[in-house]
């Protein structure tokens, strides 16, 4: 990325007005539903364990030798609030992700994350769709399982296929065939298929909800009670881009402890730094965590789709290049 000395904003005044109107509209949406707005700290003693996420890190002068991490999402802190107070909450604010720069990525961006106590994944999906139709106007909504998408685009069952079957299915797509041939990690092949083959081919005018990701990609979602091969995790795509990711939230501390450990094992294999597990989150889950569903949605991307802008810098007052 080229840094710029230009003092001018990257978004037009019209876009900033649209941005302000959208922030207000979202707050109104949750106000009417009596979902409590919270603003948890962005600076925390713990970072994220997720193998593919990377925290920016800093230090506080009066607390030497104790790194603090800028949060990649308010998830852990919000879950501590859920455990303590058991009511539906949302946060609309900045988050930070290292290593993410591009037309759809800015290392500092705005996320809308909310948790609905007592909701199932299906109920939360219905609310996400309601919100998106309100913001984006009438459009087609398509809901498919992860398995159905793979069968449609790659004629392969993602829950059963072997590494070589996945490689063969991907060999028909020349832009990914080379990488698929030399890659032998199953989840990496599935992610390659999803991100580079399926996602670019989704209907750009529709809102697409993909549900039931493989349990190996459960992240912080519950595993389905009736099918241990899949997790109750969903993703939302609109305007050709990934917009939101949600779960039927994992509620058991023991299972969460295991997932943190698995993340760190994978980090070790990939030569990435270990990430200490947030013990306060584990304590909160152990203290009793309500059944709930939660989702995180990229606010800037939502604004990009609403305003038909292809580059995130057009919707930010100042993107990283001039920040």
């Amino acid at each position: 990325m080229q840094l710029s000395d230009n003092w001018r904003p990257s978004a037009s005044l019209e876009l900033l007005q649209q941005r302000a109107a959208l922030l207000r509209q979202l707050r109104e949406f949750f106000w009417q539903r009596q979902v409590l707005e919270v603003d948890t700290p962005l600076l925390s003693r713990y970072g994220v364990t997720d193998v593919h996420l990377s925290n920016l890190q800093t230090e506080i002068a009066v607390l030497p030798n104790q790194p603090f991490y800028l949060q990649t999402s308010p998830e852990y802190a919000m879950k501590r609030l859920l455990a303590a107070y058991g009511c539906s909450i949302y946060q609309l604010g900045k988050v930070f992700r290292d290593d993410e720069v591009g037309p759809r990525h800015n290392p500092e961006f705005t996320m809308l994350e909310w948790y609905r106590v007592g909701f199932t994944m299906a109920e939360l999906i219905a609310e996400v769709v309601e919100l998106l139709l309100l913001v984006l106007g009438e459009r087609m909504v398509v809901q498919q399982t992860y398995q159905e998408l793979f069968q449609r685009y790659l004629a392969v069952d993602p829950l059963a296929a072997s590494v070589s079957q996945l490689q063969r299915a991907l060999s028909d797509y020349t832009e990914v065939a080379d990488l698929a041939e030399r890659e032998d990690d199953r989840d990496t092949l599935l992610q390659l298929a999803m991100a580079c083959v399926i996602e670019p081919r989704l209907n750009i005018d529709a809102i697409t909800i993909v549900t039931h990701f493989p349990s190996s990609q459960a992240a912080l979602a519950e595993i389905a009670a009736d099918d241990s091969r899949v997790a109750l995790r969903f993703e939302v795509y609109a305007g050709g881009i990934e917009l939101a990711n949600g779960y039927q939230e994992l509620t058991q501390a023991t299972e969460q402890t295991q997932r943190f450990a698995i993340d760190n094992q994978l980090r070790l294999q990939l030569g990435r730094p270990q990430a200490a597990a947030d013990t306060r989150l584990l304590q909160a889950l152990a203290a009793g965590f309500p059944n709930c569903a939660g989702v995180a949605l990229g606010f800037d991307r939502l604004l990009m789709i609403q305003s038909k802008k292809a580059n995130i810098q057009s919707v930010l007052p100042f993107d990283l290049s001039c920040a």
Binding site: D99, E100, G102, T174, D178, L179, D187, A195, Q217, G298
Partner: protein, 189 residues
């Protein structure tokens, strides 16, 4: 040659792919919210000229290609090789027919061309944007006619054929844009 990480990918970077030196045309990072990041790149193969799409895992390394562009003056063709010279060091380089390709029709003695070298060997020759060449054959046409009627074909001293206005005659020197192969103007001797 050094390896490049996908973090260093940008337009113009020269890398090896399929045993051939390539130039990156476009690089885009694809990063799912949860999951592995990928770099989707469009590359131009510098020998075949083909543009293809490739995908890399972000963080992977790719072998760099030792590709440089040098400006050399065209000297002569000995039937097999086209010879070029560095006007400062007087060092000479010979390019074969594969490297010169159909650019041979724009090679004018003393003109400074850009040679693309891979491991020191020429793999492509780019002539100057404009060259001046003599017309050796064309229909006499009508004198006094102006451009706009579509013109007529004219064969130049190098064998190149371009469309010229009807008033341009055999023996005249014309200026041609080598990128489009189009006539630009007559040149006063």
């Amino acid at each position: 040659m050094a390896n490049y990480s996908t973090n260093e990918f940008k337009a113009g970077l020269k890398i090896m792919q399929d045993g051939e030196p390539c130039s990156i045309v476009e690089n885009e990072m694809v990063k799912p919210g949860k999951g592995q990041a990928f770099n989707r790149v469009r590359i131009r193969k510098l020998i075949s000229g083909k543009v293809v799409e490739k995908t890399f895992k972000s963080g992977d390394s790719v072998e760099g290609a030792d590709v440089v562009d040098v400006d050399l003056a065209y000297l002569y063709n000995d039937g097999e090789f086209w010879h070029f010279m560095n006007n400062e060091t007087f060092e000479q380089l010979a390019a074969d027919a594969k490297a010169v390709g159909d650019m041979t029709k724009w090679l004018v003695e003393q003109d400074v061309c850009t040679l693309t070298l891979w491991n020191g060997n020429p793999i492509a020759v780019t002539p100057p944007n404009f060259v001046e060449l003599e017309i050796v054959e064309t229909d006499p046409g009508l004198k006094g006619d102006t451009a706009g009627t579509g013109g007529k074909p004219a064969t130049l001293s190098t064998g190149a054929v371009v469309r010229v206005p009807l008033f341009v005659q055999i023996g005249e020197i014309i200026k041609v844009d080598t990128r489009s192969g189009e006539y630009v103007s007559r040149v006063q001797k």
